[in-house]
C-alpha cells in the first residue's frame, strides 16, 4: 500500500520544493500492517514494511486499511478525501511529535494523495 511512496514518480518528486528543509521519519499504520517512511530534504528516501520490533519515528498516522483504501480512491467520497476529514470522523489517530507534520501539512496531504490512481489508469 504505502511502499509505493518510494517509487519514482514525477508528481511526488515535484513536491520536494515544498519541503526542502524537511528531514523526518514517520509511521503509517493500517492496523494490520505498518510502514516506516524516511524523508530526506523533502524526498522519500526509504519505506520499510513492518512488523517492527523497536520502531523509531517522529509521528504516526493510524487508520484502518479500509479507511486508507477509501482515502486512496481516485475520487474519494466526502469525509475520506483529506487527512483532517479522517480526523474529524475520528477514524484517524495522529500521535507523536506533530511538528514535522503540521509545519508541512500540505506537503504530507499531497504526498499521500500522490498514491491515488489517476482517472486514466
Amino acid at each position: 500500500m504505502f511502499d509505493k511512496l518510494s517509487e519514482n514518480n514525477e508528481e511526488r518528486n515535484s513536491l520536494q520544493i515544498m519541503a526542502k528543509n524537511l528531514n523526518t521519519v514517520f509511521m503509517i499504520s493500517t492496523m494490520d500492517n505498518e510502514y516506516i517512511i524516511k524523508i530526506i530534504q523533502g524526498l522519500v528516501s526509504e519505506v520499510k514494511i513492518g512488523p517492527f520490533v523497536m520502531p523509531s519515528y517522529e509521528f504516526k498516522l493510524t487508520a484502518s486499511k479500509d479507511e486508507w483504501n477509501k482515502f486512496l480512491k481516485v475520487i474519494p467520497i466526502p469525509g475520506s478525501h483529506d487527512l483532517i476529514a479522517l480526523l474529524r470522523r475520528k477514524v484517524l489517530k495522529i500521535d507523536g511529535n506533530l511538528y514535522p507534520l503540521m509545519s508541512h501539512l500540505l506537503y504530507f496531504k499531497l504526498l499521500l494523495a500522490s498514491l491515488r490512481p489517476t482517472e486514466e489508469s
Binding site: P78, R88, M102, S103, L105, L106
Partner: protein
C-alpha cells in the same frame, strides 16, 4: 492588447464600529436589491469574484462584498497589536450592521459562508427586521473542535502554509484545480493569527445554542445550502440546524466548504433558484 475588464468597482470607507474608526474595503457590481456577501474565516472578499461577475445576478442584485477588519485590504483598527485579534459574536454583528448602515442599504439580503453562515443565524435571531432574506452557506449552529487550532498561529510554523493546508482539505476533490488553488491562496495571504482569531467565533463564542429557538423565519426567509464535501460544517449539521429552525436545507453535490469560490459554476446552479424566490 485589449484586456477583459470586469464590472467590479473597489472602494474604501471609514466606518464607526462600536465607537472605533475602521477603514474598510469593499467591492461591488450590479444594480437592484442589495446582496451583502460575507467571506469565510481567514480569507477575504475575493471569494465572491464569480458572483461579482455574474451577469444574470447583476441584473437584479447589487452585489456588495466587504473585507472584514484585519482581512484583505481592510485595515486593523487603530491601536491594534499582532496576536490579539479575536472575533466575538458582538463585534461581528456590529461590523455587519455598521457596514449596512454606513452604505444606507435598505433591507439587504445577507449571504454568509462558514463563520458568515453562522452569523446570519445571530442576525436572524436578533435583527431580522433589517433584512429581506438571509442565506447561510455551510451553516451549523455549533461545532466541536476537531483539531488543535493553536497550530494556526505559532512563530515556528509558517501561517500561510498551515492556513492554506487546512483550507485545501475542506474543498471537494471534484472542484476545478485552478479555483481550489485560488481559494487556498487567499488563506495563504492572511495575517498572523487572523484565521485562528476568527475561529474563536466559529468554534466557541458564536455557538447559536438555544437562541436558535428564537429564530422566526416568517418575515425574513432563511435559506441554507451546504456542500457535501465539507467536514467542518457538514450537511448533517446543517440538517439539524434546518430542522431546529423549521426550514429546508439543500445539500450541494461536488462542492466543499467554499462553494462560491472553489466551484462557482456548480454553486450558481443552486443559488439562482433562491435568488429568484427573493426577487
Amino acid at each position: 492588447m485589449k484586456i477583459k475588464m470586469e464590472p467590479i468597482t473597489g472602494h474604501y470607507g471609514n466606518f464607526d464600529i462600536d465607537g472605533i474608526n475602521h477603514r474598510i474595503y469593499w467591492e461591488e457590481a450590479g444594480e437592484g436589491i442589495p446582496l451583502v456577501c460575507l467571506h469565510t474565516a481567514g480569507s477575504d472578499g475575493r471569494q465572491y469574484r464569480a458572483l461579482l461577475n455574474d451577469k444574470k445576478i447583476l441584473k437584479n442584485f447589487r452585489v456588495i462584498v466587504y473585507d472584514m477588519p484585519w482581512h484583505g485590504k481592510s485595515s486593523p483598527p487603530q491601536g491594534s497589536k499582532v496576536g490579539h485579534y479575536q472575533l466575538s459574536t458582538k463585534s461581528y454583528v456590529s461590523q455587519i450592521l455598521s457596514f449596512i448602515d454606513g452604505l444606507e442599504l435598505i433591507k439587504p439580503v445577507v449571504m454568509g459562508c462558514s463563520i458568515g453562515g453562522r452569523v446570519i443565524l445571530h442576525l436572524a435571531s436578533d435583527h431580522k427586521e433589517k433584512f429581506r432574506a438571509l442565506i447561510g452557506l455551510q451553516s451549523a449552529g455549533h461545532l466541536d473542535p476537531y483539531y488543535d487550532i493553536d497550530w494556526l498561529h505559532r512563530q515556528d510554523v509558517h501561517g500561510g502554509e498551515i492556513c492554506g493546508a487546512i483550507a485545501y482539505g475542506l474543498m471537494a476533490p471534484t472542484s476545478p484545480k485552478e479555483e481550489r488553488f485560488e481559494t487556498m491562496w487567499h488563506y495563504m495571504q492572511g495575517g498572523p493569527g487572523i484565521f485562528k482569531g476568527d475561529l474563536f467565533f466559529y468554534k466557541f463564542d458564536g455557538d447559536i445554542g438555544d437562541k436558535v429557538k428564537q429564530i422566526d423565519n416568517s418575515t425574513c426567509p432563511i435559506y441554507l445550502l451546504t456542500g457535501e464535501y465539507d467536514y467542518s460544517a457538514t450537511p448533517e449539521e446543517t440538517k439539524i440546524l434546518a430542522d431546529n429552525i423549521g426550514v429546508d436545507m439543500v445539500k450541494m453535490k461536488n462542492v466543499g466548504h467554499f462553494p462560491m469560490s472553489e466551484n462557482p459554476k456548480e454553486f450558481l446552479k443552486y443559488l439562482y433558484p433562491i435568488l429568484n424566490k427573493i426577487i
